[in-house]
Symmetry: C2
Subunit: 348 residues, 2 copies
Amino acid sequence: MKQRLARLRSILDSLGLGYMLVTKIENVRYLSGFGGSSAVGLVTPTDSILFTDGRYKKQAPAQASGWEIRVYTRSVFREIAGALPAGERFGFEVTCSFDFHKKLSVEVDQGRLEPLDSIVEGLRATKDAEEIELIRAALGCAGAGFEAIRTMVTAGSSERNIAAELNYRMTLAGADGPAFDTIVSSGPNSALPHAPLTDRPLSEGDLVVVDFGAKRDGYLSDTTRTFLLPGADARAREAFEVVSGALEEVLGSLKPGAKASDVDALANEYIAKAGFAEHLSHSLGHGVGLEIHEKPTLSTISTDVLEPGMVFTIEPGVYIEGLGGVRIEELVLMTQRGPEVLSADIRV
Amino acid sequence: MKQRLARLRSILDSLGLGYMLVTKIENVRYLSGFGGSSAVGLVTPTDSILFTDGRYKKQAPAQASGWEIRVYTRSVFREIAGALPAGERFGFEVTCSFDFHKKLSVEVDQGRLEPLDSIVEGLRATKDAEEIELIRAALGCAGAGFEAIRTMVTAGSSERNIAAELNYRMTLAGADGPAFDTIVSSGPNSALPHAPLTDRPLSEGDLVVVDFGAKRDGYLSDTTRTFLLPGADARAREAFEVVSGALEEVLGSLKPGAKASDVDALANEYIAKAGFAEHLSHSLGHGVGLEIHEKPTLSTISTDVLEPGMVFTIEPGVYIEGLGGVRIEELVLMTQRGPEVLSADIRV
């Protein structure tokens, strides 16, 4: 955490700022270790202060070591204003709400407020060793959960029962809970990339998409596997082959320094060449860490570059109305030597 | 949904506005029925338009009936600007990010943007019949889950195993997942109101706080029960009695039209009189619906009034460092005749 604060201070310094308000809760966690749901951080040239409410008066000091904890009972804005030297300019995160900014402006002159875009998110885009271990640990829980449900994915099991069992096993394996609502979508339901859970029983020949992740110590994992149940027709098998092929193509060519938009284009071209262009519906991937979608973004309009230390998904998918969908999602760590597929052990 | 839109339009009308941008995803769901994670709604005097991304191109039309769906691939801001008649003023929600507002201001003149505070949240504070049924359904799943783990809460079981089982059973009973990270905190851990899950095995004499909720069709439940394991010392039993007493006192006096701050004060006074003032750490309750914390707020500084149709928690608690905590949380529906305790069937 100390190193993270030091990196942040050096960026602030280069921007001519001494002070920064951190409002995004994942950024607060990244810098302080505080794992609660509500707090604002203030980083000063020499100190770091965490403003939180009474629910966390014991938890905050235990988790945010090195931070001064101030429990507020009324206006956090007044507390913040009180902690800032008169006249000092300070940065705030543009992800804060319009309302937060407005209320803060009542307490401190708006001219002192400097909007900062993706500063801490930028630091978070490349993971340090501790973070990579935490993501591996979350992924380990997810993998253990998946291993326990693999054989359940057969005709007759319901989407809901499979998801319930997967969440259960992930938690027993050490997860604090699922990283997001687990998706188990079968047959035609799987044509929706983010299908809601239903009680539909799986049936012969179904495509079954299982998109799942574990949360542990704040860090998340994200992986998808698609099952092709016995009896699947030729079109479903073809879709499966195309997506597998696109994934292989991308992983085979991925190098540190690659432009995220080029990587996205490579997958799209592969899938389009195979005749499935109209069945694409989402971009290729996204960073994963304290948030399920964070930097980098692998999409047509992304300006991100894939650098060593980044952890992101590669998740080509095609979705055919009436028939179903195929998505295969690996969680990848970019290294100096190329991609390491962190989720390689999770096998259908 | 049509009635909700009509109520919104009548408020907008009274504000002299024809158009409103809805950015908070729960507000989008409330008005349209869309259950995905990303969309912006635009309500016009005659139409309603949903801007979303490719992941939802099939799901959005299926869920948001009566809404025109526009799938954007590049800038949602340009899409929005394109849908607004030239020069027309329109409202936006102050919960949107500073950044969203700034980017929107690039596309449309800032003078056309009218900040709106808690308009849809205000509608959502009193639930309609359909919403109350959905909350009851979520609570039903939670209750079924709790019933299945009641006998597990004994010395030897671990916090994690109980939480895993509870989540599992809630999901099997029909939940899409837990409404929030289930809390099972035992012994000294329970002195933290929002304790993270651990592998600690419960031991004799522990206070065990189980705070849980189910999510179903977007709606949430929220309930807490505290177990007093055999062998608990006098201080723990006293804390339990005080919290139970405070809860009873509040429920006995709750009437439609009550000021939320008065209700909060009543509980605090009861607990203070019993000598536990220093062990209070959070406010008395909060509304529950599409969000786990929504209007009304039952706290010292709340200006809310408890009206028929509101669904909220009453959750007095005391937290004693080293010993543990007691919190009992009921989910209450205010009716014309007084409070209905929706969670009454969930018994330790």
